[in-house]
C-alpha cells in the first residue's frame, strides 16, 4: 500500500446503454479536499456513486487503502461505512434533526450515551444545536443541507463525498457550508471529494481539482495550477466559461 493513499481507481468504467464514465487512473490522498468540476452530464455524480459503492462499475479495479473490494457482503458494508455521501437533493428523514444526525451512529450500533454525546457535540460545533428538536421537514434549504452534512460526518467517516452541496442555496448558506467543510477537513482530517458546477467554489475550497468532461478525467492537479495555468484546452474553456454544454 502506498503511504497516504486513500483510494485508487484503475480502469474504472460504467456503461448503461452507452459508456458514461471511463477513468484510466485516479489516486486520492488522505486528508485532502478534492473538487470535481465539469459540465452537466460529464459523469461527476456517477463517479461519486461508484466511489460510495452505490453503483457498481462495469469494469475496473477499486482499491481502498490499498485493499481491493471485498466480495463478502459484511466486509463490503464495513468498507461502505468508512465513507458517506451527501446528495445534491437533500433527503432528510421525517423525524427530528437530532434523530437524523444520530441515524448513522445507530446504524453502526453505537451505545445510547455515545450517540447522545456525539450528536450534541456535533450539533453545537456546527451551530445547529437550536434546531435539534425541530422536525427536519420544516427546515429551510440551507439548514437542511447543513443537517445533511452533520448527519454524514457524525460517525467520523474517512471520506466525505458531496454532490453539489450548495446548489440552489443563497450566498450566506453557501459560505456557512463551505466553512463547515473546511472545519471538518482541518479538525477531523476527513478527506473530502466535492462535485461542483462552480469553478470559483472549487478554487476556494479544494486542494486538488479534477476536471471531467464527457465521462473522462481530462486533467487533475493543484487547484491554483488548474485555475491559473491549465494544461488542456478543454479545461481552460470550462474555467473561462467558454465551454458550451
Amino acid at each position: 500500500m502506498t503511504d497516504g493513499v486513500l483510494l485508487e481507481l484503475q480502469g474504472i468504467s460504467k456503461s448503461y446503454n452507452k459508456e458514461v464514465l471511463s477513468v484510466d487512473r485516479l489516486t486520492l490522498k488522505k486528508g485532502q479536499v478534492y473538487g470535481i468540476i465539469g459540465p452537466s452530464g460529464a459523469g461527476k455524480s456517477t463517479l461519486l456513486r461508484i466511489i460510495n459503492l452505490l453503483t457498481p462499475p462495469t469494469n475496473g479495479v477499486y482499491l481502498f487503502e490499498g485493499a481491493p473490494l471485498p466480495t463478502n457482503g459484511r466486509e463490503l458494508l464495513k468498507l461502505q461505512r468508512k465513507m458517506s455521501l451527501v446528495f445534491q437533493k437533500t433527503v432528510l428523514f421525517k423525524d427530528s434533526v437530532w434523530n437524523n444526525v444520530a441515524y448513522g451512529l445507530r446504524a453502526r450500533g453505537y451505545q445510547r450515551e455515545e450517540v447522545k454525546e456525539r450528536v450534541s457535540h456535533l450539533l453545537e460545533h456546527v451551530g445547529l444545536a437550536d434546531l435539534s428538536r425541530r422536525r427536519a421537514d420544516t427546515l429551510s434549504g440551507g439548514e437542511a443541507q447543513r443537517v445533511a452534512i452533520a448527519r454524514a460526518v457524525a460517525f467520523d467517516p474517512e471520506l466525505l463525498l458531496l454532490d453539489e452541496p450548495t446548489a440552489n442555496l443563497d450566498p450566506v448558506n453557501v459560505e456557512l457550508i463551505e466553512n463547515m467543510i473546511r472545519t471538518l477537513n482541518h479538525e477531523k482530517g476527513i478527506t473530502v471529494i466535492m462535485v461542483t458546477h462552480n469553478g470559483f467554489q472549487a478554487r476556494r475550497i479544494a486542494d486538488e481539482v479534477i476536471f471531467i468532461n464527457q465521462g473522462r478525467i481530462v486533467e487533475t492537479g493543484p487547484a491554483e495550477k488548474i485555475f491559473s495555468n491549465p494544461e488542456k484546452e478543454s479545461t481552460r474553456m470550462f474555467i473561462e466559461g467558454r465551454m458550451i454544454f
Partner: protein, 233 residues
C-alpha cells in the same frame, strides 16, 4: 322516510341498551376484520416494500397481477376460498368451511393485494432515494428497507386503511365461506343483508350506524398515528 327515522330511533335503542345479539355480531365482525388486516399487513407491507424498491421494469408482470387482484370481486374471492376449503378441495380436510377462520382467510385474500399494491406504489414514489440515503449513511439492507417503510408510513397507513375499509364492508366473500350462521359466523354486513330481507330494519340500521362509526373511529386513530416523529434526545 318515516320508516327510516323509526328504524334509526329503534336502532339507537338497541345500541344504548347493549343488545346482546348486536354486541355479539359487532365483536365477531371486528375480530375477523382486524385479524385479517393484521395478517394482510404482515404479508402486504414487506412484499410491497421489496417490490417498490425494485426497478419498475423488473416487476411489470407482478404489478399487473397485483393490480388485478386489488379489484377482485369479493364473491369471486369467496368462491375461490370456498372451493379450496370445501370437502373436496385441497384443504377440505381441515374442516374450516363455515367458520370464522374461513372468513379471515377470505378477507386476507381480498386485503393483501390492496395493502401490497398501494404500499408498492407509495414506496416507488421516493423509496430509492431514501434507500440510497440510508445506505450512504451505513445502513445494512434490513435497516435501509425498514427506513424506507418508516419514511413511507403515510402511504402504508393509507394502504392499511383502504384494506381495512374493504374487508370490514364486504359481504360477498364472508357470506359464501362463513354461511351467515347465527352466533357463529354472522357479521355486521351479512346480518344487515339478512335483517333487511326479513324486514327487521331497526337491527339492520343499528348495524349500519355501528359499521360507519367503527370505520370512522379506526380511520381517525390510524390518521393520528401518521403524525409521529418524536425526538429521542
Amino acid at each position: 322516510m318515516s320508516r327510516l327515522l323509526e328504524g334509526v330511533y329503534e336502532a339507537f335503542q338497541l345500541i344504548v341498551s347493549f343488545d346482546p345479539e348486536l354486541i355479539q355480531i359487532v365483536l365477531l365482525s371486528l375480530r375477523i376484520s382486524i385479524t385479517a388486516i393484521i395478517i394482510a399487513t404482515l404479508i402486504g407491507v414487506p412484499v410491497g416494500a421489496i417490490l417498490g424498491l425494485k426497478p419498475e421494469k423488473k416487476t411489470r408482470l407482478l404489478n399487473k397481477i397485483i393490480f388485478t387482484f386489488m379489484g377482485m370481486p369479493p364473491v369471486v374471492a369467496g368462491l375461490i376460498i370456498y372451493l379450496i376449503l370445501s370437502r373436496q378441495g385441497p384443504l377440505g380436510i381441515l374442516g374450516l368451511l363455515y367458520s370464522p377462520t374461513a372468513m379471515v382467510i377470505a378477507q386476507v385474500f381480498l386485503a393483501s393485494p390492496i395493502v401490497m399494491g398501494l404500499t408498492m406504489v407509495g414506496i416507488r414514489a421516493k423509496g430509492s432515494e431514501i434507500e440510497e440515503t440510508a445506505r450512504s449513511l451505513g445502513a445494512n439492507s434490513a435497516l435501509a428497507t425498514w427506513t424506507v417503510i418508516r419514511e413511507s408510513r403515510i402511504a402504508i397507513l393509507g394502504a392499511i386503511i383502504t384494506g381495512f375499509s374493504r374487508v370490514v364492508a364486504e359481504v360477498g366473500a364472508v357470506m359464501i365461506v362463513g354461511g351467515n350462521i347465527a352466533g357463529r359466523t354472522r357479521v355486521m354486513t351479512t346480518a344487515i343483508v339478512l335483517e333487511t330481507r326479513r324486514g327487521n330494519f331497526e337491527l339492520a340500521i343499528g348495524l349500519g350506524i355501528i359499521l360507519l362509526a367503527l370505520s370512522f373511529i379506526i380511520n381517525s386513530i390510524l390518521y393520528n398515528i401518521q403524525k409521529g416523529g418524536k425526538s429521542d434526545d
